[in-house]
């Protein structure tokens, strides 16, 4: 399993994807911040200083993940199937569940790297345009710098869970889909619809898109543990169902390319 994971990570770092995604993150942050004026009524953000940028722009990170994860998995599962390279490891003494497990583990590593890079880039770009500042603003309060950094890291660490569950959702599509475009488009269309349904109260708690955007808010700043438990339960349920489905489908999948 570790050797398979090593192979998946080797391929991940050898392709340009990781570096292109990192460049896109920086460009989008720059485009959002270089003309940003705190207090502008046309902008939803209200923070004044660079150290507040990562924590207050996590919705951007979520949007990046919603796009990047299908591209990653569309390539490593569906595209490899289509191009015939998926069968290379399957012709070795390797169980299919081990191979899919390695691909999912590589996805987790990818999510952690991207999230860590986003935090670092948001601090850097935010500080460049707005200065570091004296405290971290969040949810109408100002926290000390140390507390702000702790909150930021906690929020990002918490969001890794819904991002990973979203990765399982995309994996389920990737295992079924016949080509990479179908995987990416299906995942994006479903998530876009789900994001637009976030305003519907009855749907929101069950929506993966809602969880990916707001999961962390139940834990940080003013924790609501009942809500946190409810959100965690929903995500855990999705994780189990999607993982069981993906592994079962992958074990039964006929490799025809």
């Amino acid at each position: 399993m570790m050797n398979l994971l090593g192979n998946e990570l080797y391929k991940l770092f050898k392709t340009r994807k990781l570096y292109v995604f990192a460049a896109i993150m920086i460009i989008v942050l720059v485009l959002n911040l270089f003309r940003y004026v705190p207090g502008d009524p046309m902008v939803v953000w209200t923070f004044k200083h660079g150290q507040s940028v990562p924590l207050n722009t996590l919705d951007l990170l979520t949007q990046f993940m919603i796009i990047f994860i299908p591209i990653l998995l569309g390539d490593s599962v569906t595209n490899e199937y289509r191009r015939g390279t998926l069968k290379l490891p399957l012709l070795r003494p390797v169980h299919r569940s081990e191979l899919l497990g390695a691909k999912l583990a590589a996805m987790l590593v990818f999510i952690v790297i991207m999230a860590a890079f986003y935090v670092a880039a948001a601090y850097a770009v935010g500080t460049y345009y707005l200065g570091w500042g004296d405290g971290t603003e969040y949810a109408g309060r100002v926290f000390s710098t140390a507390e702000g950094i702790r909150l930021t890291l906690a929020a990002v660490a918490l969001l890794l869970f819904p991002y990973a569950v979203y990765g399982l959702f995309v994996t389920a599509i990737a295992v079924l889909a016949g080509n990479m475009s179908l995987t990416i488009i299906s995942a994006l269309v479903i998530m876009t619809i789900a994001l637009n349904l976030n305003a519907v109260e009855a749907v929101a708690p069950w929506s993966l898109a809602y969880q990916a955007a707001y999961y962390h808010e139940a834990f940080i700043s003013d924790p609501d543990w009942n809500l946190a438990l409810q959100r965690t339960g929903v995500l855990a349920l999705y994780a189990v169902i999607l993982a069981l489905f993906s592994f079962r489908m992958f074990r039964k999948k006929e490799i025809l390319y």
Binding site: N7, K14, K87, L88, P89, L91, P93, I255
Partner: protein, 244 residues
């Protein structure tokens, strides 16, 4: 079977597979013995590649079983597949990696395969000088040879090749044929080769099986079937059999 006789290196038992209600492989029984260069012959669409996909665990039979050295592929996949190296259809590699890197990834999945073994198999197939070039710069013949190097990596007893000369120019076909014969005689590797090129197979194989409409029409020793002096060509034999 005689109690002292070794089991076939590769055996299919009543192998059957349908797609969308159409039987592609129908009650197929094949026996490949150690040391054979076995030609699996048939026109396109007769079930050769489907059979090979089942032999390598890429697709699953509706019924029947595949045994490698007596080990059921269905029941003990890891132990059975460890004896096999294969190229199924066109050899596909990660084209943004070099030939060496591709083999190194595969070597990670086979216990005991060292870096020197990777270099050795690249030399055997004549790619030693291009090992550090990206696969996207390789010709089809070079990819085919890299596929054979990949199949050789873990020193399997049996190599399965699906139409190994497809798409190659005459020089490429000659090189692959020579490589197979060299590996069979020098490294004692058993080959199972599917092809529709009867003349090529007559030169290469000691045993053949002919498949038509998913069923095995006949299986036997090439010299016995064509006469020791080559009285009848495999082509003539094939057309007589398939006509009837």
């Amino acid at each position: 079977m005689d109690g002292n006789q070794a089991p076939p290196l590769l055996e299919t038992r009543h192998l059957t597979k349908s797609f969308r209600g159409r039987k592609i492989v129908d009650d197929l029984n094949i026996r490949v013995m150690k040391g054979d260069v076995y030609g699996f012959l048939g026109r396109n669409g007769q079930g050769k590649t489907t059979t090979i996909r089942m032999m390598t665990g890429l697709i699953f039979p509706d019924s029947g079983d595949i045994l490698v050295k007596g080990i059921s592929l269905r029941k003990d996949f890891k132990r059975a597949i460890a004896h096999i190296g294969a190229i199924v259809e066109m050899p596909a590699f990660h084209d943004y990696l070099t030939g060496y890197e591709n083999l190194a990834l595969m070597a990670n999945l086979a216990p005991g395969v060292t870096k020197s073994r990777i270099r050795e198999v690249l030399d055997i197939v004549g790619l030693g000088g291009r090992a550090r070039d990206k696969v996207k710069t390789y010709s089809l013949g070079m990819k085919q040879r890299l596929g054979i190097a990949n199949a050789l990596l873990h020193e399997p007893e049996l190599i399965i090749l699906d139409e190994p000369t497809n798409g190659l120019d005459p020089q490429g076909m000659k090189e692959i044929k020579e490589l197979i014969l060299q590996l069979a005689s020098e490294k004692d590797i058993t080959f199972f080769i599917s092809s529709h090129l009867l003349h090529e197979m007559q030169q290469l194989c000691n045993r053949i099986g002919i498949i038509q409409n998913g069923r095995l029409l006949m299986e036997g020793d090439v010299r016995e079937l064509t006469g020791a002096a080559g009285d009848i060509s495999l082509e003539q034999l094939y057309f007589e059999l398939t006509r009837s």
